[in-house]
Symmetry: C2
Subunit: 314 residues, 2 copies
DNA sequence: CAATCTTCTGCTCATGTGAGCAATATTCCC
DNA sequence: GGGAATATTGCTCACATGAGCAGAAGATTG
């Protein structure tokens, strides 16, 4: 397109989109036929000069969702818009809201739902509406009795989700990681614990988040790991954790010994499940999000626009 | 509008604007009649959830221009979009481009055009296209032989504008400000100088910019004023200068004695002129822009979106 | 310079869309 | 609970718009 045509297309776009003139009226003003005006507007769009944004906390980016599905083989992808968002916290809240919406709209509603714990899942639980499901048995899929935080965050997440679905919660009363392998094996041998883990394995659907591998990890906050341990894991290639298990960019367990001391379902059990919903958002989580998606750890991803774009670029 | 309707309007907008579905198709997806979809889309627009931006260096903001004209009584207002602009420099370049466009489109083309000098006017001269006018006599309206910068910026601005219009330039070979009143009076008594000033007074149109009152002022750079003098002017209420003359927010000369030593046309001569085009852009110039517009110093304002919004707010 | 190919222009026509208007549903108030 | 006021819905109709096409203008090549 010629240079003067480009300028004309901008003038036409101003009159069309900002002044709500018809193409006919614009034609009179710019001394063009209305067909020419129509073509100029089309070219302005094609050149990307017209940017249309939906500015709303609940807005999603459907084209990005489609591209994500196509390029990764995910069953479903939910991408919330980051238009007009300043903080990561706000973005994560939007993502949690979208995850709650997705869960609520899920048909058939899963009878048993396996969930992890953490800030994200807690946020999801808060965004769910009372009566979102007709009785769901919510099962914790990894250990998480907090050590030095106020206890019960993990439990309250599960209970809230279950309560709001008029269902019941099955808790996994165990730390996330044991210091000694023997203790972990002992607790797994317990009839109650074993029962919960069996229930978790057979859940119809899973919802979980993922943590980045850095000093701000929830596992550090909760006292299960030290900053030094995290640094060591990072040095060995860890990009983050899923249900308490640290993986590298290829989805492989970074520290098998540590993994053995971690209570909860195995990653392979997630890989085999038909419906696994990962909720991952925020600028620090791009690497772990990629690892989760690339290595079949989820069938559905709920995330934000920036993370989704990072996945598409890489 | 109800809460669920708001959410529906967002879903509809996603399908309409991002997926290019027809309202009919959206109706099928969301189980609504196509009229309901149309109404939801209209409400999404009315609520400001749909933001349409024209992203282009030449894009203008016509609605803001209209509001500016209405609220200030300007004959004309040109407001360039700041969408996608990072630096003030880029914004000022866009504004200069718009001023060049405005000059070029001006009918009838002024036979004599009075101009000031400075970074902005120089920028305008560069953006003008060869042959923009059929012979224009460009006259400098205020003194400006630079003292310690490379000389000729002021002169070259005038010459370039004239040359590109296939016209001629009349220079005002005088410093902007004299140290002593007697010297200034002497130079004004000179036949040549007096002739140029008379020509300047009677120009058919004026184009000028304005400077903010701070240490970065062009008059400080050029060595006519010291930072201390500027600080003193600010303390006395100065918000900036127009053709070398410092004014306060009410458009009044801040320092009459200094004003007397300044060479160029008087502000009242600008106020009486039928066509005075002020080109003012950048975040540091909001105050002086307001003073210029509010006190009738220009009939046409060329500025950027942010400055325009600041004018509308105050 | 002519022949061919390509791009651009003006138009017809089918479809998409918003204004306006009854009919219906909902809310409010006595 | 009844009746009025208000909001919502489904619709007709006129207008706005994009797709597709034939002819004109312009570029390219032998």
């Amino acid at each position: 397109m010629s240079d003067t045509d480009e300028l004309l297309s901008i003038r036409a776009a101003e009159l069309y989109y900002e002044e709500n003139q018809t193409q006919d009226e614009i034609g009179v003003i710019l001394r063009l036929t209305r067909w020419k005006v129509g073509r100029l507007l089309a070219s302005a769009k094609a050149n990307g000069f017209i940017r249309i944004e939906i500015v709303h906390p609940r807005a999603r980016r459907l084209p990005i969702e489609r591209r994500l599905r196509e390029s990764t083989g995910l069953t479903d992808a939910i991408v919330v818009s980051s238009a007009g968002v300043s903080s990561d916290t706000e973005l994560q809240s939007r993502t949690a809201q979208a995850a709650a919406d997705y869960l609520s709209a899920l048909r058939p509603t899963p009878r048993t739902l396996g969930i992890s714990w953490g800030r994200t899942l807690h946020d999801v639980s808060l965004h769910l509406k009372q009566g979102w499901g007709p009785g769901v048995n919510v099962v914790q899929i990894n250990g998480g009795v907090s050590l030095n935080q106020r206890t019960g965050t993990a439990a309250s997440t599960a209970v809230t989700i279950a309560h709001k679905a008029d269902g019941s919660a099955t808790l996994l009363p165990s730390p996330a990681i044991f210091e000694r392998l023997e203790t972990k094996q002992a607790i797994e041998a317990d009839r109650t614990i074993a029962g919960v883990l069996a229930l978790a394995r057979n859940a119809q659907a899973f919802v979980f988040s993922a943590g980045q591998a850095d000093a701000n990890s929830a596992l550090v906050d909760s006292g299960y790991l030290t900053v030094e341990q995290i640094n060591d894991l990072v040095a060995r290639g860890a990009v983050g954790d899923v249900v308490g298990r640290y993986i590298d960019r290829n989805g492989r367990i970074v520290d098998p010994e540590l993994n053995e001391r971690t209570v909860g379902i195995q990653l392979d059990q997630l890989r085999r499940a038909p419906l696994t919903i990962a909720v991952i958002s925020g600028h620090t989580k791009h690497a772990i999000a990629r690892a989760v998606v690339r290595n079949g750890l989820c069938t559905v991803l709920v995330t934000d626009e920036d993370t989704a774009n990072a996945l598409l670029k890489g």
